[in-house]
């Protein structure tokens, strides 16, 4: 079973938080849980989800909450986001809808969002750094509580 944690981001200010969570999780999850940091993957996210049975997606969001607010959102909530008019704006929600249409959405998909503050500068703002650490702890705990299943020898 492929389990993959995907941090999505860019080098700009708090938008790098998805990458930061991946960095914080390195060495902390059971062997076999893959960590992947993606830079604005667009439709490339669909490829990153192919064959994955449990995916965790972490991305920064701007929803009007205060910086650092953590939320876990359902895939269904993303269906309300309208289609992008341009491939320049092909975002995570669109990629996940495309994956769903292709039948490649992982059976288990957890989406975590972190409200961003500043998009300027090189580092994370303190609130967002704290939120990244909180989420990394939470994910490490969740994975620890999950049984490490092995594929039966006959599989594949």
């Amino acid at each position: 079973m492929i389990r993959r944690v995907i941090g999505i981001g860019s080098p700009f200010g708090d938008d790098a938080v998805g990458w930061r969570v991946i960095e914080l999780l390195r060495g902390r999850l059971a062997p076999g849980v893959e960590l992947l940091a993606l830079d604005r993957p667009g439709p490339g996210l669909v490829t990153a989800l192919e064959g994955v049975e449990h995916a965790v997606i972490i991305d920064a969001i701007r929803s009007g909450e205060s910086a650092g607010t953590l939320r876990r959102i359902a895939f269904e909530a993303l269906e309300r986001i309208p289609d992008s008019p341009s491939s320049h704006g092909f975002g995570v929600a669109h990629a996940l809808r495309l994956a769903a249409a292709l039948g490649s959405l992982p059976p288990r998909l957890d989406i975590h969002t972190i409200e961003l503050g500043e998009l300027a500068g090189d580092g994370l703002s303190p609130e967002v750094e704290t939120a990244a650490q909180t989420l990394a702890e939470q994910l490490a705990d969740e994975f620890r509580a999950m049984p490490t299943r092995r594929c039966p020898a006959s599989a594949g």
Binding site: G44, V46, P85, S86, L98, G103
Partner: protein, 434 residues
């Protein structure tokens, strides 16, 4: 019937890069008004570049476009090196071509599958299309991903890559990295072959049009990162002579500039490139194109879609050829000694010729920059095509059918409005015959 007054306004075009609109007014069965309005604000990149060190330019111009940053980088680097008298090493020239192949692959695969194919297969978007053609969409995404991997090999990352510099590259990939890339490219070749056959089998509107093809031409290879500017009307000029023949003008409805060749609209992009460079195709690609039974040069603008699939195949073949000869150099770039000068650059961006002129001083500071993107060169041609295509389609078609045809015609150029501004909303007004 044609007695009605039609007024179609598409306030924001979808499945194009950036923001624009279309206004169409039909009166008494005639097109009285047809205008492509580009209202993205002018982006002032030429002015941002003034006063910047030559070494900062590639990072700045990469930001003009998220889809074709390499086109901007490779054109700027050519112009800067031309201005400062730097001759790139053969390894650098080969790797620039490989880098550019990555961009063609990802940009063409994205346009074909996410933007254009829903029009030809009758879907609103790729999401609807994916449910009925999942394998085709997966193949498209794999090809796009391969393009991104190729960009990452030399650029460090696929979005606004950072690997290229004046004089060469900051980093030369290891042989192991190149070998892994070669394996992926060889595996993808059959996918590119089957894509050509599939796209060639789709029914396309038949409409032969008269237009001037403009593309680069290279002494040996299919044009990409270098060449002379040629047309099918006999023009054959150095890149530096561009401004003597091609003129940009402002029109009130658009923040993009309209380019004309000796006063005439003209076509740049995959169809123009293929029409002018059939004899430069790799043998294997030429055999696949001949097997489709579709004759080139083609005057059917909708063959642009097929031309893009042909160029995906070219990109993979070329990347394989160049990487099979890969030798890791001791140093991936030459030292740069700034000197004052004016330099020119032209390359084949996925959407057509991208032309740059840079003037630098003896400290290597940019004093003036001029950037002519492909979409502004195609803008006059798009309007001309719309006019002809809608007449050929029939003005008595329903408003919805007219709107879809107009959008299909525009999207077929893969216009990058974000690049061109300095794009669609469509208004159709039909007035009765008095």
């Amino acid at each position: 019937m044609t007695e009605r007054t039609v007024s179609i306004h598409v306030p924001a075009m979808t499945r194009v890069e950036g923001e624009g609109s279309l206004r169409l007014r039909i009166e008494a069965g005639r097109i009285e008004e047809l205008a492509l309005d580009i209202f993205e604000p002018p982006r002032y990149f030429e002015k941002f570049l003034e006063g910047r060190q030559y070494s900062e330019v590639l990072d700045i111009v990469a930001r003009i476009c998220g889809i074709c940053p390499i086109a901007y980088q490779m054109t700027a680097v050519q112009a800067l090196e031309n201005a400062m008298g730097i001759e790139p090493a053969p390894w650098v020239r080969a790797m620039r071509r490989v880098f550019y192949c990555g961009e063609w692959l990802q940009s063409h695969a994205l346009h074909i599958h996410l933007l254009a194919l829903p029009d030809f297969l009758g879907f609103d978007s790729v999401v609807g299309m994916a449910a009925e053609h999942p394998e085709a969409v997966r193949r498209g995404l794999r090809l796009q991903g391969l393009g991104n991997d190729l960009i990452r090999l030399l650029g460090g990352r696929s979005v606004h890559p950072v690997g290229a510099c004046v004089g060469g590259f900051y980093y030369a990939p290891t042989q192991a990295e190149v070998d892994a890339m070669l394996t992926a490219l060889r595996e993808a070749l059959p996918q590119a072959e089957s894509l050509i056959g599939w796209i060639a089998s789709l029914p396309m509107p038949e409409d032969a049009q008269d237009f001037i093809n403009v593309a680069l031409r290279h002494p040996v290879d299919y044009p990409l990162a270098e060449g002379r500017i040629v047309t099918d009307t006999g023009l054959d000029i150095e890149v530096s002579a561009y401004e003597a023949h091609f003129v940009e003008e402002h029109r009130p409805q658009s923040t993009a500039l309209f380019s004309l060749l000796d006063g005439q609209p003209y076509l740049v992009g995959p169809l123009a490139r293929l029409n002018l460079n059939l004899d430069r195709l790799p043998k294997a690609t030429r055999a696949l194109l001949d097997a489709t039974g579709i004759r080139f040069p083609s005057r059917n603008m909708f063959h642009s879609l097929l031309a893009r699939t042909v160029e995906i195949h070219v990109a993979i073949i070329e990347a394989i050829r160049l990487l099979e000869a890969y030798v890791r150099p001791d140093t991936p770039h030459v030292a740069v000694q700034p000197r004052a000068g004016v330099g020119f650059g032209a390359t084949e961006a996925p959407r057509g010729i991208l032309w740059h002129r840079f003037e630098v001083d003896d400290a290597g500071i940019v004093r003036a920059a001029r950037i002519v993107p492909p979409t502004s060169q195609n803008q006059a041609r798009i309007e001309e095509d719309l006019h002809r295509s809608l007449l050929a389609f029939g003005l008595d078609q329903t408003d919805d059918a007219l709107r879809l045809r107009a959008e299909t015609v525009i999207r077929n150029y893969d216009p990058c409005i974000s690049c061109a501004t300095h794009f669609l909303d469509m208004t159709v007004r039909r007035e009765p015959r008095m």
